[in-house]
């Protein structure tokens, strides 16, 4: 996996979280390791996070990306809450939100219209995820 050489020593920082009561964290841990191997700093905040906790952590840790994994079906309730809180804190222009897990296509479209940048469905190759993030980072840095 390619390591990103960011300009002026800046590293890619991404927060990974699981929202709601879904207790399956193997997938997100695999993603965390893959992104670490791609040279990123991964702030892993663990299971059962609330939208408030995620947005607050993202602000404190000054990340460029948030990756949320949901397998419980609660995405249409929880993700808009995250987006709303980010707008309230003025973070929506600065931090990209990605989703992973089980998100039906129609819901994915709706959420992307609300501000989610990308939904990585199950089976997305890890390299693809890492490269997408690295490309987005270059665009944001420019």
């Amino acid at each position: 996996m390619t390591v990103t050489e960011a300009p002026s020593g800046q590293k890619i920082r991404i927060l990974l979280a699981k929202l709601g009561l879904d207790g399956h964290d193997r997938g997100i841990k695999v993603v965390a390791r893959a992104l670490r191997d791609a040279g990123m700093e991964v702030i892993y905040t663990g299971l059962r996070q609330t939208p408030e906790a995620v947005v607050r952590a993202a602000a404190e840790e000054d990340v460029q990306f948030i990756g949320i994994s949901l397998l419980s079906g609660a995405h249409m309730t929880l993700v808009p809450k995250v987006l709303e809180l980010m707008k309230k804190e003025g973070l929506d222009k600065e931090i990209d939100v990605f989703l992973g897990g089980i998100i039906p296509n129609e819901d994915a479209e709706v959420l992307m219209q609300q501000g989610v940048v990308k939904v990585f469905g199950p089976g997305t190759p890890l390299e693809q995820t890492a490269e997408f993030i690295q490309d987005r980072f270059k665009t944001k840095a420019a």
Partner: protein, 353 residues
């Protein structure tokens, strides 16, 4: 000199400075990122530090072997600290992958339970990127930034695995060493030099077997200045040789007597109040009866000098021609090694930024 540094900040940066002064946590996070990314902290410190604040002892370094339960302990300490009406910032420094430079910073998980809606708590994860020297300097600067922002206490957590992590403790005013029973009878922490730097000891997971043996070995080492071999080592061939370890040797100790040892159970919150009492007592002693060896300013001076020396050494080492010329002089007998070192020293002296 002062104006010179601040004028290195762009207009955008000055907006950030203003927001920081207004108490914006977002601005705080961004300034920390700038320093963490390797920017010269000088102009930021110049612009943000209030005189006197950053020299008040308030940084508690928390170290210990992996698996000691430091993060969980901190997770319990945070609400207890808040109950004492103090604001607290936590800096969690995690190791970085030596191959890719990436890191998984997961200490937040165990710490963040109590922090929602509480602006009296701030948690930040840093990875130990770059050289030991670089990490040390940026960690020290970030601690000063957190003090400037107004946090009463700063907890600096790092894994006490080696020299790099140990140098992070240069940023701490007071050092808490967290140990657990059963992590190797040979007690490697003694060799890593961590014991000498500790002001307070927390014996965590005190509900596990071996806790009594750990405490008595530690106390006896503290009391006698000798290392007491652990039960399983008594039969080893080395057991009869006393190893002199000076724990909290007199001139560096802040205490009038042996350093405190507190039993804790991080997962259950047992012993936390007693631990906080000792930590606060230590900081109070440092503030009111300052031991000149431990003053924050003395420490920064020393650390800064060491880093400056290392930086100049790196510049020297890069100068292949000169180094080779010196080496050749020694080989050929034109001068002695000591004379060559004197010459090199003259050059080192003249290297500047």
């Amino acid at each position: 000199m002062m104006d010179n540094q601040t004028s290195n900040l762009s207009d955008q940066d000055l907006t950030l400075v203003e927001q920081f002064r207004q108490g914006s946590r977002r601005a705080l996070a961004r300034v920390i990122s700038r320093i963490d990314n390797g920017e010269d902290p000088g102009p930021w410190l110049e612009a943000l530090e209030k005189p006197g604040v950053s020299t008040t002892p308030r940084v508690i370094g928390i170290t210990g072997p992996p698996g000691a339960g430091k993060s969980s302990l901190i997770g319990c300490m945070i609400p207890a600290i808040r109950k004492r009406n103090l604001s607290v910032a936590v800096l969690a420094v995690d190791p970085e992958s030596p191959f890719t430079g990436g890191a998984i910073l997961g200490d937040r998980i165990r710490m963040g339970r109590h922090t929602l809606d509480d602006s009296g708590v701030y948690i930040r994860s840093l990875s130990s990127r770059g050289s030991a020297g670089g990490l040390s300097r940026s960690t020290r600067s970030v601690c000063r930034i957190l003090a400037a922002f107004g946090f009463d206490l700063i907890l600096l957590e790092t894994v006490g695995a080696g020299q790099a992590e140990l140098s992070v403790m240069d940023a701490a005013d007071l050092v808490l060493l967290v140990l657990v029973p059963g992590t190797g009878d040979s007690i490697q922490w003694e060799k890593a030099g961590q014991v000498e730097i500790a002001d307070v000891f927390a014996l965590n997971k005190a509900d596990l077997p071996g806790i009594d043996a750990l405490e008595s070995a530690l106390r006896s080492a503290i009391d006698t200045g000798f290392f007491a071999p652990c039960p399983s080592e008594r039969d080893s061939p080395e057991a009869h040789k006393p190893k002199r370890i000076t724990l909290s040797s007199a001139k560096h100790s802040i205490w009038d007597g042996p350093p405190p040892v507190v039993r804790t159970i991080g997962n259950e919150g047992v012993g936390i109040e007693a631990l906080l009492d000792k930590l606060q007592a230590g900081l109070k002693l440092m503030t009111e009866n300052p031991n000149p060896w431990r003053s924050p300013v003395r420490r920064r001076l020393r650390a800064g000098l060491e880093e400056e020396f290392e930086r100049r050494m790196r510049v020297m080492n890069h100068d292949q021609e000169r180094m080779e010329a010196l080496a050749e002089q020694v080989r050929s007998g034109a001068c002695s090694l000591e004379q060559a070192i004197d010459q090199a020293w003259d050059v080192l002296h003249k290297i500047n930024a």
